[in-house]
């Protein structure tokens, strides 16, 4: 081999080394630019606690620990050196909540994942009995608003829930698949259904408008049953994904239904005639069901307990509706029985109020799109 060839070879090697250094330097400086970073959390739930595995990329770990370069973490020895500090740092930033009580994660082991250039932390949370609901919250790197944490929760080897925790949405709640989870689903979604009715003045006014003309117990039962059957049908269809009309269509229609019933009351007061409230309740009940579904799906339904959550939410809606009927009906019955001359005026005034409110919502929802 000639001297010239050796020199050329040496120059090439030096050039390659310098080029690699240059590119690595560029990479180090730009590590956080034009890139999202991700962590993974895998949680395996058992009766007495949960095993947690958190995988953190070295770019994030180095930035959080204030290291000059991510390349400071590049081997098992580096991981062993920095993992304890990383675990201490992340302990308050990654929390589990079992049935509403914080279950601290004790980080006990760590390893270097060369294939992912990441530190893997193993931890355990302990509880006395399997919780019905589990909350997971991750705010791992608050200085990096682009960071996201993938969460996978397993129970008895099966995937229970997956989700992505972000800076704007750093937590999720899931229900376990045992009896405790079922009970938690029923409790939570019944309360949600009741809450939805009482915080939704459009549904309240629709039911009140249906009742304003009064009538015997049988007639009222017929009206409310028609409404219940109709909205239960469309709620189930929408939640199961069979039919999902857009909310920009459903919400104005709900407002229009209120106007319609109120106008029907006013026309009935002037001309009398037949009582078409039961079919109207059924027809518009179909639309209100889609509205309930919109609210329910926004909450994030537990896939494993879809039927139970749907049933519980619907039951909550019925309870809320029954409360409105029980509060309104005796008052109207008393009015029609004891103040027969005043009652029509009250019905007219109330119907005008309901119609105006419905009209306002209709315009508002059309404008909002």
């Amino acid at each position: 081999m000639g001297v010239a060839h050796v020199r050329a070879h040496a120059v090439r090697r030096a050039a390659r080394a310098l080029l690699a250094a240059f590119v690595l330097l560029a990479h180090a400086v730009s590590a956080r630019a034009h890139d999202r970073t991700f962590s993974d959390a895998t949680i395996a739930i058992a009766a007495r606690g949960a095993d947690v595995r958190l995988t953190v990329h070295r770019d994030d770990a180095a930035a959080a620990l204030g290291l000059a370069s991510p390349r400071a973490i590049g081997s098992a020895a580096d991981a062993a050196r920095y993992a304890p500090a990383l675990a201490r740092l992340l302990a308050p930033r990654f929390t589990l909540t079992a049935d509403g009580r914080v279950a601290p994660v004790a980080w006990t082991a760590w390893r270097w994942r060369a294939d992912r250039r990441a530190i893997e932390l193993d931890g355990r949370a302990v509880w006395s009995h399997e919780p019905g609901s589990l909350g997971v919250e991750a705010r791992l790197f608050p200085d990096n608003p682009l960071h996201e944490t993938f969460v996978n929760v397993y129970a008895r080897g099966a995937l229970l829930r997956e989700g992505v925790l972000t800076a704007p949405a750093p937590s999720l709640t899931l229900f376990t698949d045992g009896p405790a989870g079922l009970w938690a689903v029923l409790r939570t979604f019944t309360a949600t259904g009741i809450h939805h009715i009482f915080t939704g003045p459009d549904h309240i006014l629709f039911v009140i408008a249906l009742l304003l003309l009064g009538g015997g117990l049988g007639r009222v039962l017929k009206i409310t049953t028609a409404f219940t059957i109709a909205h239960s049908m469309t709620l189930a269809l929408a939640v199961l994904g069979v039919v999902r009309p857009p909310s920009r269509l459903v919400e104005p229609l709900i407002a229009l239904s209120i106007v319609w019933v109120a106008v029907q009351n006013l026309r009935h007061g002037r001309r009398g005639g037949g009582d078409a409230r039961a079919p109207v309740a059924f027809g518009f009940g179909l639309v209100h069901g889609f509205g309930f579904a919109g609210a329910l799906t926004e909450l994030g339904l537990p896939k494993a307990a879809l039927g139970a959550s749907l049933f519980a939410f619907n039951a909550g809606v019925e309870i809320g509706q029954a409360c409105i009927v029980l509060a309104t009906l005796p008052l109207l019955a008393w009015l029609h029985a004891n103040r027969p001359r005043t009652a029509p005026r009250v019905v007219t005034a109330a119907s005008w109020g309901v119609a105006l409110a419905g009209g306002f919502w209709f315009v508002q929802r059309i404008v909002a799109g």
Partner: protein, 284 residues
């Protein structure tokens, strides 16, 4: 017609000077490419191909997990177009496992949503210069207000799995920014591409190319473990949005282009950049 200017950095001594100068520079502006990386670019029918996506520099990077919340589209175009978002699982580093049904070739395409970032003024301007984004750089220089670079960026990546039907490779996918080859990539020593912005030819865009040698057995080397490589060439597109580059050397090729316009959402960012890439293998 004047030929587009093509720059080929010399391989050894010039590279040494280039690298030394770069190291002497006070800082290096960010340049973060994003590409789709199939486990192999040449696959017979029914052979399994795993698709990953990487972000990095010098054609070396980190695998990125599939994030459905940021995916606008992920598809494989072969005899028919398959929506891969149906099989991709959130958090998986292998985005899809795919088996070509024929030997005509497969075009993978991915489009992300926007991600907002803010860079210090100096770093932002340096990055604009490095990426050849002269228009935005000139606007910022005229303003001379030293404001931070408020940007939102998105990715449009394509990968070509070699096959006999060049029409599959040359078809337009409809990405906001797209590198459309005018022949089957990897088949010839040169490759002419057309850069489309919102479906129209984009003149003056800086297209850059990197080449990574193949690994053992002729398969692509692990893009997380292999050495970084310098830009092999860079070329501006002509008035027709076309650029011709030399891709004679065998290996895995990455072509990348960035386009930046004033942001449509000024509340989120002042500028929005779209990064397009095309990966393929050259086998002489």
């Amino acid at each position: 017609m004047p030929r587009p200017h093509v720059h080929h950095p010399p391989r050894a001594l010039f590279a040494l000077v280039f690298a030394a100068a770069a190291l002497a520079a006070p800082a290096v502006a960010p340049a973060h490419e994003y590409w789709l990386a199939p486990s192999r670019y040449i696959a017979p029918p029914r052979a399994a191909v795993e698709l990953a996506a990487l972000a990095g520099t010098g054609f070396r990077g980190d695998r990125k997990p599939f994030a459905p919340q940021h995916c606008v589209r992920l598809e494989a175009r072969a005899a028919r177009t398959l929506d891969l978002t149906r099989v991709a699982r959130a958090g998986d580093y292998t985005w899809a496992r795919f088996a070509p049904s024929d030997a005509a070739g497969v075009l993978f395409a991915y489009e992300s949503d926007f991600t907002p970032i803010t860079l210090p003024a100096t770093e932002f301007d340096r990055y604009l210069g490095l990426e050849g984004l002269d228009g935005p750089l000139a606007v910022r220089k005229r303003a001379a207000d030293g404001s931070a670079g408020r940007e939102r960026f998105r990715r449009c990546a394509k990968a070509w799995l070699a096959g006999g039907d060049a029409a599959r490779a040359t078809a337009t996918v409809g990405l906001p920014l797209e590198i459309v080859p005018l022949a089957a990539p990897g088949a010839g020593a040169t490759l002419t591409v057309r850069v489309l912005w919102q479906g129209r030819p984009l003149a003056g865009a800086l297209v850059r190319g990197w080449r990574a040698p193949l690994g053992d057995g002729g398969a692509p080397a692990d893009p997380e473990q292999r050495d970084s490589v310098a830009v092999a060439w860079q070329v501006r597109t002509d008035a027709r949005g076309q650029a011709t580059a030399r891709v004679a050397a065998s290996g895995e090729w990455l072509l990348s282009v960035v386009h930046m316009v004033p942001s449509a959402d000024r509340a989120e960012a002042d500028w929005e950049s779209t990064w397009a890439s095309l990966t393929f293998e050259r086998t002489p």
